[in-house]
Symmetry: C2
C-alpha cells in the first residue's frame, strides 16, 4: 500500500483553483455558455443531440454550478440563518432540528450559529456575522436577557424569533409557556398538594419568567401559599443543588421545575436524600426531552410541540422573504403565534403522603 498521494487541483483536467465553469463545459462541448446554462437549468428548448453533448462534457469535467455566481445573479441564496443558544445543552436542539427539516422541505438550507451566551450584544454580533454570510432571513431561538436595548440587526433582513425577549419586536412563534406552567402547577394542586415549589430558570430568561409567573398565578388563584422560588440556570447540576435544599425541607411535597434537566437533578437529590418519588415528593418538568420518559421514575412533564414550532417559524420567515415585506417593530403583537403545549402525566407525580 503506497503512501497517500494528495491530488492537486492542477492535475485534474484543465482547471485551476476552482472547478470548471460554464465556459469550460461550453468549450469542450463546442457550444455557447448560454446553451450549457440552459441544460444546467433543465430548460427544454435544447435539441436532444446538443443536450447530450453538453451533459457528456459536464460529466467529463465534473461540472457543478457555482452557487456564488447564481446567488449574485438572483440575489438569493435560499439559505436561512439560525441563531441558537447552546445547541446540545437544552431542549432547543429539537427546535433547531425541526427548523432545519422545515427549511429543507421548502428548498432552503440552514446556516447555524451557536451562541454560548444569549446576551443582546452576542446575539447581535452573531446576526451581523451571519448577514455577512449569505442568508435570506434569520431565525433567533431563545435569545434571553431582558435588558431593554434592542437588537442591532442588519437592515432589510427578515427575522422571526422564538421564546426570546424580541417577541413584540419581531414576528414570533413559541410554545404556550404560561399554559404549560399553569397546568403543571394545577395538576399538582389537583392531586391534593397544599402548595407547589418551583425551581426556576435564570432570572434574565424570558421563558423562565413566563413559567415562574404562571406558576405564581396558579398558586394565587388556588389560594395556596406561594413559597420562595429557587433559581437555577437550566442545567441538571443547578437542579441538583436546588433539589438538595428542597429535600431537606419536610414540608416540600411537590416541585415544578422549569425544565427537564433541572428536574433530573432534583430527582437525583431526592433519591439521595431518601425521599420517595412520587410517594413523598412529586416532581414535574418542562420540555419533554428525549430521556424524560426514561428517568426514574418516568417524569411527568409539559411537552412542547417542537416540530410545529419549527415549521411555523420557517413558514413565517419565508413569507417575509418571498413578499419582500418585513414585519417588525412596535405593533408586532398580533404576530405572535402561540403553539399549544400538553401535560404528559407519567409516574413522578402522585397525591401527597397522608
Amino acid at each position: 500500500m503506497r503512501a497517500a498521494v494528495p491530488v492537486r487541483h492542477e492535475e485534474v483536467d484543465a482547471v485551476e483553483g476552482r472547478g470548471p465553469s460554464l465556459a469550460d463545459v461550453a468549450a469542450l462541448a463546442g457550444v455557447s455558455t448560454q446553451t450549457v446554462s440552459r441544460v444546467s437549468m433543465g430548460l427544454d428548448n435544447v435539441r436532444p443531440v446538443t443536450r447530450d453533448k453538453v451533459l457528456a462534457a459536464m460529466a467529463q469535467l465534473g461540472y457543478a454550478p457555482n452557487t456564488a455566481a447564481r446567488a449574485l445573479r438572483y440575489g438569493s441564496f435560499r439559505t436561512i440563518g439560525v441563531i441558537a443558544h447552546r445547541l446540545a445543552r437544552t431542549g432547543e436542539s429539537r427546535t433547531v432540528e425541526a427548523v432545519v427539516e422545515a427549511a429543507r422541505r421548502e428548498g432552503y438550507t440552514v446556516t447555524l450559529i451557536d451562541v454560548e451566551s444569549p446576551s443582546s450584544d452576542v446575539v447581535s454580533a452573531a446576526a451581523t456575522r451571519l448577514s455577512h454570510q449569505a442568508i435570506d432571513g434569520l431565525v433567533i431561538i431563545r435569545a434571553e436577557t431582558a435588558t431593554p436595548d434592542t437588537l442591532a440587526l442588519p437592515p432589510r433582513l427578515p427575522v422571526v424569533v422564538s421564546d426570546s425577549r424580541f417577541v413584540g419586536h419581531h414576528p414570533a412563534v413559541g410554545a404556550d409557556q404560561g399554559d404549560g406552567a399553569r397546568s403543571a402547577t394545577q395538576h399538582l394542586l389537583d392531586l391534593g398538594h397544599r402548595t407547589v415549589h418551583h425551581v426556576a430558570g435564570p432570572a434574565d430568561s424570558i421563558p423562565a419568567q413566563l413559567r415562574a409567573e404562571a406558576w405564581r398565578d396558579a398558586l394565587v388563584a388556588a389560594g395556596s401559599p406561594v413559597p420562595e422560588l429557587v433559581e437555577g440556570d437550566w442545567t441538571a447540576a443547578s437542579g441538583y443543588d436546588a433539589g438538595r435544599r428542597l429535600a431537606a425541607d419536610p414540608e416540600v411535597t411537590a416541585v415544578f421545575c422549569a425544565n427537564d434537566e433541572m428536574a433530573a437533578g432534583v430527582l437525583r437529590a431526592l433519591h439521595e436524600a431518601g425521599r420517595a418519588v412520587p410517594g413523598d415528593v412529586s416532581v414535574v418538568g418542562f420540555d419533554d426531552v428525549l430521556l424524560a420518559g426514561y428517568l426514574w421514575p418516568p417524569l411527568t412533564t409539559v411537552a412542547q410541540d417542537f416540530d410545529e414550532i419549527g415549521t411555523r417559524l420557517v413558514a413565517r420567515l419565508l413569507q417575509q422573504v418571498r413578499s419582500g415585506e418585513i414585519e417588525d417593530d412596535a405593533d408586532a403583537e398580533d404576530l405572535h403565534e402561540v403553539v399549544p403545549v400538553s401535560l404528559l402525566v407519567r409516574q413522578s407525580t402522585a397525591p401527597p403522603p397522608a
Copy 2:
C-alpha cells in the same frame, strides 16, 4: 396602537429589490466604488476625511457587503457543510456543537443538513444539495449503513468524516470506540462479574459494530462466556425493550449498553422489574450525554471528548481547503485520527451480588 404596517423595500431610500451596493454608497459619498470597498475592508490607505464621508453614507443607506459577490470574487464562502444524523436524538449533537464552535474560531460558518436516514444515497443526496449551496468543505458525522457502494460526492470537495463507514475513504477523526467498549467491559469484569451482556446499536452502524466487537474481544480475552447480544436502535425505547428481556434473566448481573439513551431504557426496565442497580445488576453506557450523571443511579459511562473531535475535524478539513489538496481514497488509513475516551465511573456499577 395602530395596525402593523409592513415596510416595503421600495420605500426605503432609493433601493429596489436588494440592499444598497458599493455603487450606491459611492454615489452618495461622492467617491468611487473602489474607495468604498477599501473602507469596507478596513484598509488604511484612505484619508480620514474620505473615510468618514464613506462611513456616513454607509450608515445612512444601511449598507452591508454582498456575500455572493465576495464569494464569487474570492472563490470561497468561508462556510463548511455538516451532514448529521438526527441532530437532536443522539449524543452527536455535541459533536455538531463542537464543529460549529471550532469553525467559528477559524472564521468559518456552518451550513447544516440533518438526514433522517444514514444510508449512502440519502447522504449522497444531502452532499449534492450542500455542494449546490455554497460550501468549501464537508463534514460527515456518523453516516452509517455498511453497504459497500461508495459515496457519490462532488469532485474537488474536501471531506472529513467521523464515525462513519467512509473512514478509510476519507480522512477521519473519531473517538476510540474499541478502547471505550473494551474498558467498559473490563471494568465490569474487574468488579467480579462472570460475564457482561451487551445492548448493541443497529447492525448496520459502524460505531455499533466497533463497540460490539471490542466487547466480544474483551470477554474472550478474559475467558468469559460470550452471551448473545441484544440489538437496539440507539433509542431509549429500544433499550427499555432490551432491558425487560435482560431483567427477566436472573443470570444477568452486568450490562454494557452501546449508548446512554439505551442505558436509560435498561435502567428503567430494571427498576420496574425490582432489580436493584447496582446491587443486583450493574449498567454501563457510552457517550456521557448531558443527563448521564443525573440518571438514577448516576450512570457509569464512556465519555467521548466531543470538543476535541469537533476541533480536529475542522482542523483537518480546513487543512485540505487551504492547501487545495484533497486527501482521499484507498490510502487514507493513516489519516484516521483516534481521540482517546475515558471511563467515567459513577454509581451504576458495583460487584455482583454475593
